[in-house]
Subunit: 424 residues, 2 copies
């Protein structure tokens, strides 16, 4: 890698770090005014943004981009309006900074408080989705942090235009432009430098496909919050309400296919499998879902008209994000728990049951970020949890687990106030 | 590195991971009984432990160990008794597991709870201090986690003996021995494998010198909690109560020299420096502290009998852990804040002042784990904070910041209970 990329990215990270204290001193009203002004400026300069986006789209078309990716990349004035609205939504959220998390007066009279403070500098690495650029910047600013953004080369011109608008508003509001810094022009090498910028960047949050996330997790010296992959299980217990179960399974699999909280493996208790499997799969089959079934499930699905292929060992660990579903019949709750322990990515699992003991055991023993009973896995979401915003869904145990809102991108510190206290 | 070390350490980590669910199911009473039985067994088998320790001491003497390190390594029946007492103290602490951190019923009737759960497998890498072996194991078990211990080759026989006692008790109590696993026999290579055991070990906590911590932070694929180095500052403001300040500075520097919350840099406001510096340093000089002073401070200390050497650029970033202190005169509060921002390791800083605005600004603007007013930095400690135990002091912002007790080595998960809920 060239020294100049290294120098540029480290300089950008340092500029963000040096800018951040100016933001940390602002109270909610001032921060919300900045976000509001950014929303206005985006709408006012929509033409400029859309024309930058047109350059990205032209390049993408030339290189033969997939239709789904092109759709996520494309901007028009209406979409710019929606992006601006994200900033107004962030402004409307309560300010997490300053919250007293706990506090007490010690025996010796020392006053102790743990308070919520900004993280400092947040690095975001994501894919070619221009809306994430603005969303991430807005949430970071609301939480008092500067942000270094790296958003996928395919969106270079769009991101550059969006970041320019945000930086101009910061300057107009008397704040350092470097509270929002983009490093897209340095490509993948820029990410490598960012991952080594420990001491400048406080946390790195990768958002995107499994490959991107693995690359960051395995190479970063900066602490990382791992987000994302969801090999999500629903267990239909012997005592499940079958009508409910049919609706929940259909909702979990079909309501939105390509997302991390969509259902990927269906486990059905042996005692109910013969009756349940044909009913559970009927709406899926109708929607075109192909079933990767184990032997027992395949036998029970024969003659239902379902497209069934034999499940391979790989199927139990595959996040399809597609019209595919792994299906297995399980002996009992224990077998199901072992299966989940071995194959879950720790994102979200749900049991459908009417048995109190089964529900208790499932909630207690499944070691995932979100563990549910009698609900669709699609509720595993920051918006649904009432966080008002979602940075991503953490599948690691450190710092944040499950849907992450504003609070999850903050840190804390301890304040200790004495009156001349010395330690005996 | 040999494949056999790799296989052995990964097998040990996997064994700990497989053992952990048995512990996760225990409630407080059962866990405390195990800790009590371990304490008893340590006392009963003290002779065996002390004789293993004698082998380590003989080897250490042969290689010419420093007296301080030898003292930390040495065990006698009384010290084994003190180690056993650590386990009884851990048993007496409240159980962090199961705490409902937050919860609500959503608009749609979904019941949402975030609950505290065990971390899973905790890796501890530390230096040749056998008491840490038992302390770390006891606190991990109390917090529901299995533990993989790597404690410095110089304590190999002592640690092996201690771990054997703990594992025997686990088996007697009907629990898997592998809840406590030692990997000392694999030396430094073992640490390298442990650092790559992502997916088996949930968090790695290095405790010890700056070199050890840096090595783990820079090489670990497993998430790390960085502990330790404290380049700790006290600022004596223009309005400080000088009598109090003299006591606090002496306490912060002298009460215990070699610890991370001991004072390392003294900043004195220009307006009070001429009067304050001689008085503040008198007790330090008497105790044999050498002062690394900037030009202004050196001039004011002339003729006081203090041993003064000119501060070099390096002094502002050195954690002495010795009878040495960096001293500077600062222009005003802003200059002090800039100095701290540039040179602090983010551990603990304290302002001594009678001015409300100065105290407010210092508490708000210093970005360290513990920020104090009118108190000795020596209070930055899990025991003093009332945590009952201390795993270490985190100087990073992710997950835990400042003194870490039981709560800081746990994770959380979300429980979502519905009645057939699907997402519209």
């Amino acid at each position: 890698m060239s020294t100049s990329v290294e120098n540029s990215v480290l300089a950008a990270a340092r500029a963000a770090k040096d800018a951040q204290p100016a933001l940390a001193r602002l109270h909610r009203g001032a921060k919300d005014r900045v976000l509001g002004a950014m929303a206005e400026a985006l709408v006012a300069r929509a033409e400029e943004i859309v024309s930058a986006n047109a350059r990205d789209l032209a390049a993408a078309d030339e290189s033969g981009i997939a239709p789904g990716l092109r759709d996520r990349l494309a901007l028009d004035p209406e979409r710019v309006g929606a992006i601006a609205q994200q900033l107004r939504d962030a402004a409307a959220l309560p300010d997490p900074i300053g919250e007293v998390i706990r506090g007490s007066v010690l025996d010796n009279g020392l006053e102790l408080r743990e308070v919520r403070v900004p993280m400092g500098v947040i690095g975001m690495v994501y894919e070619a989705r221009p809306n994430v650029t603005v969303d991430a910047a807005g949430l970071a600013l609301k939480a008092g942090s500067a942000v270094v953004l790296r958003g996928g080369s395919a969106a270079l011109h769009s991101n550059t235009a969006l970041i320019a608008v945000l930086r101009d508003v910061l300057a107009e509001q008397g704040l350092p432009r470097d509270l929002v810094v983009g490093i897209d022009e340095h490509g993948r090498d820029g990410v490598d430098v960012l991952m080594r910028s420990r001491g400048l960047v406080d946390v790195l949050i990768p958002r995107g496909g499994a490959g991107l996330i693995r690359r960051v997790v395995e190479n970063s010296l900066v602490p990382v919050i791992e987000t994302g992959t969801g090999k999500t299980h629903v267990l239909v217990d012997a005592s499940a309400d079958l009508d409910q179960a049919v609706d929940i399974v259909a909702n979990a699999k079909l309501q939105r296919i390509g997302v991390c909280n969509a259902l990927e493996t269906l486990l059905v208790h042996r005692d109910i499998a013969a009756e349940a499997l044909p009913r559970l799969t009927a709406p899926l089959v109708e929607a075109g879902v192909r079933l990767h079934a184990d032997e027992q499930a395949a036998a029970l699905l024969e003659g239902t008209g379902a497209e069934v292929v034999p499940a391979t060992a790989e199927d139990w660990d595959t996040e399809y994000l597609a019209l595919e579903l792994a299906v297995a019949v399980v002996e009992d709750l224990d077998t199901a728990l072992v299966h989940i322990r071995e194959h879950s990515t720790g994102h979200t699992e749900s049991i459908l049951t009417r048995d109190l003991r089964s529900q208790q055991r499932f909630l207690a023993e499944v070691d995932s970020a979100v563990v549910m009973a009698n609900a669709s896995t699609r509720f595993s979401d920051g918006g649904e949890f009432g966080f008002g915003a979602e940075i991503g869904i953490s599948t690691q145990k450190l710092h944040a687990r499950g849907p992450m809102g504003l609070r999850e991108i903050t840190a804390s510190k301890w304040l200790v106030v004495g009156q001349g206290h010395v330690r005996p």
